[in-house]
C-alpha cells in the first residue's frame, strides 16, 4: 500500500476545498437555510405533523441526504474530471499507485467533504427546528455509506464524461429528480399506492428512509432493506469502477 500517495492525493483534494471554502460551504448552508425558511416556517405551518414530528423537523434528514448525494457526486466528478481534462492525470497514472489506492483517495476526499458539509447543515438545521437523533451511530453509518457510494458514482461519471455537457447531464437529469422524488420532503406513504410502488424503484428512497429512521425511529421501508440496498449500490459502483480501471476505460488508451 502506497500510503504516501494516498495521503498526497487526499491532501491535495482537501486543499482544493480549503481554497474554495466560501462557495463550497457557504452556498449549501444558505440554500438549506432557504429550504427551512420556505418549507419549514412558511409552508410547514400549514402541514400537519408527519409520523409524529413537525414538518420542519421531518424534512431535515431528507434535506441532508439531498445535499449529501449531490455533493458527493459533484465533488468526486470534478476531482477526477479536471485532471483528466487538463491532462494532469498523467502523473497519477504514471505513479506507483494501485487502482484501489487512486479510487480510495479521490473518493475518500470527496466523501469527507460531503460528510463535513452534511454535519454543518445538520448544525444549521438545529438552529431552525427541534431535532432528535435516536440512533446516532446508525445515522453516521448511513451518512458515511451514502457518501462513499455516491462519491463512487461521481467518480464513475467523471471518468465517463468527456465534455462539460455530460458532466452536468447525469446530476441534472437523474440525480436531482431521484432525490426530489426520493421522499426527501414527504413520506412515500403519503403517495397514491401506484406511485408508492414506482417510488420503490428509486434507490434514493431507501437511503432517505433509513437515514430518517436513524433520526426519528420511523421509516418508509424496513431498515434492513435500506441497509441492504445501500450496500448493493456500493457493490455495483465498485464493480463498475473496477471494470473501468481494468479496461483502462477513458483513462488509458
Amino acid at each position: 500500500m502506497n500510503w504516501q500517495a494516498v495521503r498526497a492525493i487526499y491532501h491535495f483534494e482537501m486543499a482544493r476545498t480549503r481554497r474554495t471554502l466560501l462557495q463550497s460551504v457557504l452556498a449549501p448552508v444558505i440554500s438549506t437555510s432557504l429550504y427551512f425558511v420556505v418549507f419549514g416556517s412558511a409552508i410547514g405551518g400549514y402541514i400537519p405533523e408527519v409520523e409524529g414530528v413537525s414538518y420542519g423537523a421531518f424534512i431535515v434528514p431528507g434535506l441532508i441526504m439531498l445535499n449529501l448525494l449531490t455533493q458527493s457526486v459533484s465533488n468526486a466528478t470534478f476531482a477526477i474530471f479536471f485532471p483528466k481534462f487538463s491532462r494532469t492525470i498523467y502523473e497519477v497514472l504514471s505513479a506507483p499507485i494501485s487502482h484501489f489506492e487512486i479510487v480510495a483517495s479521490y473518493v475518500g476526499a470527496a466523501a469527507t467533504k460531503a460528510i463535513m458539509l452534511s454535519l454543518i447543515i445538520l448544525a444549521t438545521a438545529a438552529l431552525f427546528v427541534p431535532l432528535r437523533i435516536e440512533h446516532p451511530l446508525w445515522m453516521l453509518f448511513f451518512l458515511v455509506l451514502t457518501a462513499l457510494t455516491f462519491s463512487l458514482l461521481g467518480f464513475i461519471l467523471g471518468i465517463w464524461a468527456d465534455n462539460f455537457e455530460k458532466l452536468q447531464l447525469v446530476p441534472l437529469l437523474v440525480i436531482t429528480p431521484l432525490t426530489f422524488l426520493g421522499g426527501s420532503f414527504y413520506s412515500i406513504d403519503m403517495l397514491p399506492p401506484a406511485w408508492r410502488t414506482v417510488s420503490l424503484f428509486n434507490p434514493v428512497v431507501y437511503l432517505v428512509s433509513g437515514f430518517r429512521w436513524s433520526f426519528y425511529g420511523s421509516a418508509d421501508v424496513a431498515v434492513g432493506i435500506s441497509i441492504g440496498m445501500a450496500l448493493l449500490f456500493l457493490a455495483v459502483f465498485i464493480a463498475i469502477v473496477m471494470w473501468m480501471f481494468r479496461t483502462g476505460y477513458r483513462l488509458k488508451p
Binding site: 502506497n2 498526497a8 487538463s86 502523473e91 497514472l93 504514471s94 505513479a95 506507483p96 488509458k252 488508451p253
Partner: protein, 324 residues
C-alpha cells in the same frame, strides 16, 4: 561505471506493439535496450511513435503486445517497483492552475511514495531556478517556468530514470541550455536520461546514443559518435577568388559542386579513417595547378539532422518502392 562487466540494461523493451482503438498502429514490434546511466535520444518526425513508446513504459498507455522491464521489473506485473524508478516530463505543459510551485512539487514526491523531504525539494527548485517562485501559483508562470516546474515534479522523487518528452519544444535558448546542463549533471549522478526530440541539435549536443524511429519502427540505434562517423562525412567549402563558369576537366575526379553563382566550390569527402586522408591536399594542389585561387575555406561535419532526414526519406522511398 561504464567498465562494469556485463551490465544489465536499465530498460529492456522487447517486441513492443501498440495498435490504438481506431486501428492505428503506433508501434510495430520495437526492441530496444537502454543502458544504465546513458543519455539516449529518440529521434523521429511527429507521429512516429516516440510519445507512445514513452507512455507505455511509464504506464500511461496499455501495450498491445510485447514486454517492457525497468530495472528488471515488469512494467505491468511489478508496476510499483518499475514506476518508482521513473520520472516523466510530458510534452504538453499540463499543470494545475491554482496550486503553488512548492505544493505541486511536494505532491509529486508523495505520489511516488516518498516521505516528504523539504531540503531535497529546495535543492531541486534551486537547481531549476524556481526557488524564487516557490509560492507562485502555477497559472501565473510563463511557459518556460511551467516547463521547469514539470521537470521539478519529475525529479521530486529522486528517479533513476528521467524521460523528457520533447523537452525543449517552444523553449527559449537560455532555458534550453539550462536544461542541457541539468541533464548532464543528472547523468553525472548516475541518472539515465531518455529524451525524445525532433530538434536534432539537441540529440547531437547531448546524447550518448541515438535511436531513430519512423512510422512505429525503430530503424536505427547507434552510438552518436559512431553514427556521425558512419553517415557523417565532411564537407569542404572554398570561397573562390574569381567565379568559375564550370569545373575544369582536370578536377572531374573530385566530384566537385559549384555553388553561389560559381563563387563557391564544395567538396564532399569521408571523415577520418575514410581512406582519403590525402584527398584534401591533392585537391588543393590540383586547384593550384589549374590556376584557381581561393580567398577562404572551411570544413564542416554533416549534421545529425542531415543524416536523419536522409535515413527517414531513404526508408520511405524503399517502402513505396516495395509497394509499387
Amino acid at each position: 561505471m561504464s567498465d562494469r562487466p556485463a551490465m544489465q540494461p536499465i530498460i529492456s523493451i522487447a517486441g513492443l506493439s501498440k495498435i490504438y482503438a481506431g486501428g492505428f498502429a503506433a508501434l510495430k514490434g520495437v526492441d530496444l535496450d537502454i543502458r544504465r546511466g546513458e543519455i539516449f535520444a529518440l529521434l523521429g518526425p511527429n507521429g512516429a511513435g516516440k510519445t507512445t513508446l514513452i507512455s507505455i513504459v511509464c504506464g500511461l498507455v496499455n501495450p498491445t503486445a510485447g514486454r517492457v522491464t525497468v530495472g528488471g521489473h515488469d512494467i505491468i506485473r511489478d508496476y510499483r517497483a518499475a514506476r518508482a524508478m521513473i520520472g516523466l516530463v510530458p510534452q504538453e505543459l499540463t499543470t494545475d492552475a491554482f496550486e503553488s510551485v512548492w505544493n505541486t512539487v511536494s505532491f509529486s514526491r508523495g505520489l511516488f511514495g516518498k516521505p516528504s523531504n523539504p531540503a531535497y525539494i529546495e535543492e531541486v527548485l534551486k537547481a531549476l531556478s524556481l526557488w524564487g517562485k516557490k509560492n507562485a501559483r502555477l497559472v501565473s508562470l510563463s511557459g518556460g517556468m511551467k516547463r521547469r516546474v514539470l521537470i521539478a515534479k519529475a525529479l521530486s522523487h529522486e528517479p533513476q530514470i528521467l524521460f523528457l518528452d520533447e523537452p525543449t519544444a517552444g523553449v527559449d535558448v537560455e532555458l534550453r541550455h539550462d536544461m542541457w546542463q541539468l541533464v548532464r549533471r543528472l547523468r553525472d549522478t548516475g541518472v539515465t536520461v531518455i529524451l525524445t526530440t525532433h530538434y536534432i541539435e539537441e540529440a547531437e549536443e547531448m546524447a550518448d546514443r541515438v535511436g531513430v524511429i519512423s512510422k512505429g519502427e525503430l530503424i536505427l540505434v547507434e552510438d552518436k559518435e559512431a553514427l556521425m562517423r558512419k553517415f557523417g562525412g565532411k564537407r569542404l567549402t572554398l570561397q573562390l577568388a574569381a567565379p568559375l563558369a564550370q569545373i575544369p576537366p582536370a578536377l572531374a575526379r573530385y566530384g566537385l559542386v559549384l555553388g553561389k553563382g560559381g563563387s563557391e566550390l564544395v567538396y564532399h569527402y569521408e571523415g577520418e579513417g575514410g581512406g582519403q586522408d590525402t584527398a584534401i591536399a591533392d585537391l588543393l594542389q590540383d586547384l593550384g595547378r589549374a590556376g584557381i585561387g581561393f580567398a577562404d575555406l572551411h570544413t564542416e561535419q554533416r549534421s545529425l539532422e542531415e543524416i536523419f532526414v536522409g535515413l527517414v526519406s531513404e526508408r520511405e522511398q524503399n517502402q513505396t518502392g516495395e509497394q509499387g
